[in-house]
Amino acid sequence: MTTQSLEMYSFKANLQIVWSEVVKNFKFLMAYPVIFVFWTIFPFLWFIPFVFQGQAFVGSLQSAEFEKFAGTPDYIPFIVIGAILNGYVLTSLYGVGESIRREAYRGTLDYLLSSPCNKAFILIGKALSESINSTIYAAIQLAVGIFLFGIEITIGIILPTVLIIFLLILGLYGISLMLAGVSLQFKQAHDVAHTLEYVFYVFSPVRYPLGSLPFWAQVIGRLLPLTYALVAVRSIMLLKQNIMGLYQEIFLLLIMDIVAILLGFYLFNWMEKRTKSSGAISHY
């Protein structure tokens, strides 16, 4: 037992758990290759409604009225950034909770929960798998945006953008943990995730600038981490603003990350204990 106990607390071993989870999920993905059809076609189709919409309302993809709220007259680059960041929200909301439900359905959940490792690392591995999927998808969307709609990317904006996305993802992992707990207790978190998806979609500036919303809706929007991430990334990528000028958004993102992760851990552990007491742990 001595050697095993020593191994149990090593940081490297925890990273190995995260990595094994990512590898496992990647192999599942490869077992269903039809996903590549979606990855190849959808990024192109996705743009078309926005192009038509822009032309129908203002006759082009640029608008002075839009510039008053967004700081940029170009609608397509604005919406591409909105879609990419919202993509991380969607995969975080649906991915981990659904993954827990699938583990229960397969009968593997009992084995995950009865292993001696910290379950948080399994969940982080699941969330990271979803983030990697989102990143691949975002890269394709961005590439389409660059080649078809002239979105400009310079080396200098990559690092600050990645930092903001990282901060957004951290907070989303906290929400993922909460939804994983909900999934343990109620056996499916889909409806909660669906509701949250619309809260983010409506009140965060995904498809329209925050300033165009009524005051009450702006207040709700400012409680969501996606709002600050969108404002920061658009400021960096579209308005070429320096990251140092975005300290408020970064600070608020950090606070939200800490709250969401602590709350996520607490809720997951609480729900796990409840289901282990009630005997419903491996129900699905």
Binding site: M1, Q4, S10, S20, K24, R106, Y111, S114, R274, S278
Partner: protein
């Protein structure tokens, strides 16, 4: 491992372990925020007692059987020991660690096979499955590779190690499940119905592995099963569990000796009457227990009627006449050697196969 006053060394000990399940009641949209209904007393309507203050001591290196019908509480006990379920009362000590207070250390000491072949990732290969689960036990990467190959070799699966489990047979997947339990070389194994649904060849192979693990590798094995032959063949000691309680625990021979003195008459027959047990009981009230184990009509296997205890032997004539009147075809009549099934019936009044009550 821990010692008691007799200086025996134990790897598993349960102390008044109790678990009940409450029937789900709709408590409204926000009902989940309310406290669990733990206050409801045991024996209350809607409360199923799965474990009733179970006390067991299992020696280090012992192959210990837990024999009981479906729903007797075997899986609940295994799940409590493996920390998947939190008991309502009592606790258990495994490899010197308390299941309530030292869960991580208990989990590191245990390997389990529970739920059978469904509990693996069928879209992954046997090797990928084992590598993944080994990583949860924090084994060094190189050790994982060596151990996985070693176990696949032991299970005779090395040549198909890189095939997905969806292409495996049920028996092969069960072997992978056993290999998974052994990845971190745990001193204690919890096996819940490890041969359920397997054909005789695979069952024999799995039983042989279990015997080796106990006798050669000196692992402490708790084997929960409802197959009496399996328990009889493999186990050093057996606890008979029924309705959540342990009704007896001893070596198979000593358990069988409990009914050796008792007369057991077995009537092998075809086409017994529907209510044979009640019908014969009304004719032979001085026979302690009368049970019927029906044969499978489709397979052409005969039914067996057992008369246990009381004046069983003296009542043979009455029983034969009564069955003939009901057009039952009797093929043989035996004064039988007691089996664990007879012990179970004698102790609980229920049949292992059905978990019913033969006394009624």
């Amino acid at each position: 491992m821990f010692h008691d006053e007799s200086n025996d060394v134990y790897s598993i000990q349960t102390i008044n372990l109790a678990k009940s399940f409450r029937k789900k009641k709709h408590k409204g949209i926000f009902g989940f925020l309310r406290k669990n209904e733990k206050e409801k007393p045991r024996g209350h309507k809607g409360v199923t007692v799965a474990l009733d203050k179970v006390n067991l001591k299992i020696h280090t290196g012992e192959l210990f059987g837990l024999l009981g019908p479906n729903g007797a509480g075997k899986t609940t006990l295994v799940k409590c020991l493996s920390t998947i379920l939190i008991p309502d009362e009592g606790t258990a000590i495994i490899n010197n660690f308390d299941i309530r207070k030292q869960t991580a250390l208990v989990r590191a000491s245990l390997g389990m096979v529970i739920g059978g072949e469904r509990t693996l990732y069928w879209k992954l290969t046997a090797r990928d499955n084992l590598i993944y689960f080994a990583s949860l036990y924090k084994m060094p990467r190189r050790r994982i590779r060596e151990r996985v190959d070693e176990l696949l070799g032991i299970m005779n699966l090395l040549d198909r190690a890189d095939e997905r489990l969806e292409d495996y047979s049920t028996g092969m997947r069960q072997k992978v499940a056993i290999a998974r339990a052994l990845l971190h070389d745990p001193p204690v194994l919890l096996l819940d119905e490890p041969t359920l649904g397997l054909d005789p060849t695979f069952s024999r192979q799995i039983r042989s592995q279990i015997r080796k693990l106990s006798k050669k590798e000196k692992k402490t094995v708790l084997l929960a099963t409802h197959y009496m032959e399996e328990a009889d063949e493999l186990c050093d000691r057996i606890a008979i569990i029924n309705k959540g309680g342990i009704v007896a625990a001893d070596t198979p021979n000593r358990l069988k000796a409990m009914v050796r003195e008792t007369e057991i008459v077995e009537v092998v027959c075809y086409n017994p009457p529907q209510n044979a047990e009640q019908y014969l009981k009304s004719l032979c009230p001085d026979v302690e227990i009368i049970t019927l184990i029906r044969g499978e009509v489709t397979k052409g296997s005969p039914s067996r009627i057992k008369l246990i205890g009381g004046n069983a032997e003296k009542r043979i004539g009455t029983v034969v006449d009564a069955l003939r009147k009901k057009n039952t075809q009797i093929t043989s009549l035996n004064i039988s050697v007691p089996t664990l099934e007879d012990v179970f019936i004698k102790l609980t009044g229920a049949k292992l196969a059905e978990g019913g009550d033969a006394r009624q």
